[in-house]
Symmetry: C2
Subunit: 338 residues, 2 copies
């Protein structure tokens, strides 16, 4: 029996050490991990995912800790994935936050994992999705992904969550508002934490104003209708009528946490009753299928071809003797006539 | 003669209306535009690209305007591409900035273009690269791309510039520093604008401290050696020994602009003398080739296959009857046995 089968069985049986082990393999992108994920896939689809995102200093990790505690009072099993920003600059700040999460460490219904960053842009997002899938298969009711709300991967990671919670706090500076615009667009619930601080009314007002300015649109493709373009997929934008609530919390005192949990539940129900949840799942899986197919096809083609050939092409392109589009054409034609 | 040939000739002859027209076609991603870009490709590779990025309120556009004026005193032809953030939230603020750029509108050696955002994530970055290529072929000595330093596409766009200039200003708030980390990593020159404002020393100090904390590494692949993984390319990180200068400017008074232009020149010379420039060009073109190939192969495969087949697969995956990796395997096998 291959080791991955064994691991899969142990993970499905609730073995935490096996789970931690498998997640490490997933982070490393090993073939066993890919095999295990394929086998585990049929057990996925029941976890509800919550993305919690916010700048350092908003008390985001403390809020996550309190949210987990609350969900535990309802006997829900909860996994938390903390995604390090790919930048080494902010790495230090998060250490303290992660330390606070250790409150939960003794609880068998809680699993906390911090994603290592291997410096590979894009790789973190991919690994995070796979880890979320493993945790889903492992039977957690909620998978919470915590990210800093800035950077390339951040929005991408937050985007896959069923409900995206954006955490802000008073006194974070006006200028930061503009920066947050990108993440505000995908927020489903907004939390102003540290609501006992001065300036909370201004922060709430500013966030509400920005929400009104923005058009909330979700990318959902027509059911079953896929229009293909060379550079990707044409998607139809349909209006998402969800009204984003702006809540106030004082996470250090546990205040407002119940309301936050309720807002997440309301959103989950909204997604489910409107059919958006099912449609999003479908669109995501379709995109994943296409992306995997893309990688596989190019991999197969390059495997079949001598590596000097690729090098020669790149050299010709760099010398401006050949343009990239024509190079692609010749690669595709050659591979057909083999 | 197809219309694109005509446009290409006119663009190469320096016709500004033809250039504007072609850029619109490029933004729309028309087949004529793709054809024109292929033809123009052999004329590219001589423009030097500068990415200028910074939060709203840093005086970035004013700085760009002054930099363009300075380069014009040296008889350099300069194109500016202003990239709207994909978010509608910040769209308003940039309008005023763009207005200021009209100082340069009468100058035949200057071409200014604001990229429209069509709401397509990723599409803006792709269109921007193509527009930069067209401007390169049109004979501009410098192509300056101005972006707001946050958001998914922003870093991606800034990353393709030969020299990335990060603009900051005093009084932008401490919290914003953490957010900027992602962009700080790719900055080659840092400018503290509005240096007549109080707090300039603190801002300079904070930026220098963040620079020291961070490890500057550039993604450069081994020359001619490409290791292929299913999820992309393994790259070797080599140290870039460039010392990022932190300059002070007062753009509204033209102060520090010459020093900024000199810093960009120094960086250009550094890239060129170390061979990094040639290597980066090669790596970028190779990545572009692979990405185009990826899109093309998946497009070809999906074209050959009845659309219901894809739908059925996605339905099976959504029902957790089939996992994405196995679905890819079956798609690839079927296409081979056709």
């Amino acid at each position: 029996m291959p080791e991955s089968d064994n691991l899969v069985e142990q993970v499905l049986a609730g073995n935490r050490r096996a789970l931690a082990r498998l997640i490490s393999l997933v982070e490393d992108g090993t073939p066993e991990a890919n095999e295990a994920i394929s086998v585990l896939y049929s057990h996925t689809g029941s976890a509800y995912t919550i993305g919690v995102t916010g700048a350092p200093g908003t008390g985001k990790s403390c809020l996550v800790t309190e949210l987990v505690k609350h969900l535990r009072t309802q006997d829900k099993r909860v996994a938390v994935v903390a995604v390090d920003p790919s930048s080494p600059f902010t790495g230090g700040a998060l250490l303290g936050d992660r330390f606070r999460m250790r409150d939960l460490a003794g609880d068998p219904g809680v699993f906390i994992r911090s994603m290592a960053t291997r410096g590979q842009l894009g790789g973190v997002a991919r690994a995070t999705f796979d880890v979320m899938r493993v945790l889903d298969a492992a039977g957690f009711d909620y998978v919470i992904v915590e990210t800093v709300g800035a950077g390339q991967n951040e929005v991408e990671i937050a985007r896959v969550a069923d409900t995206v919670v954006l955490v802000d706090a008073p006194g974070m500076g006006d200028d930061i508002q503009a920066i947050k615009a990108g993440i505000l667009e995908i927020a489903d619930v907004i939390v102003v934490n540290k609501a006992d601080r001065p300036g909370v009314k201004n922060t709430v007002r500013a966030l509400k104003a920005m929400l009104e300015l923005g058009h909330r649109k979700r990318e959902i493709s027509h059911h079953g209708q896929v229009m293909i373009q060379t550079d990707g997929f044409e998607k139809t934008l349909i209006d998402d009528m969800w009204q984003v609530p702006v809540l106030q919390t004082i996470a250090t005192q546990g205040e407002g946490i119940e309301e936050l949990a309720q807002a997440v539940l309301n959103h989950a129900e909204y997604l489910s009753s409107t059919g958006i949840q099912a449609e999003r799942d479908r669109v995501r899986l379709q995109n994943e299928l296409i992306n995997r197919l893309r990688d596989r096809l190019v991999y197969d083609l390059l495997q079949r071809m001598p590596s000097q050939d690729l090098e020669k092409l790149v050299t010709a392109i760099a010398a401006r003797e050949l343009d990239p589009a024509s190079a692609v054409q010749s690669l595709v034609s050659n591979s057909k006539h083999e």
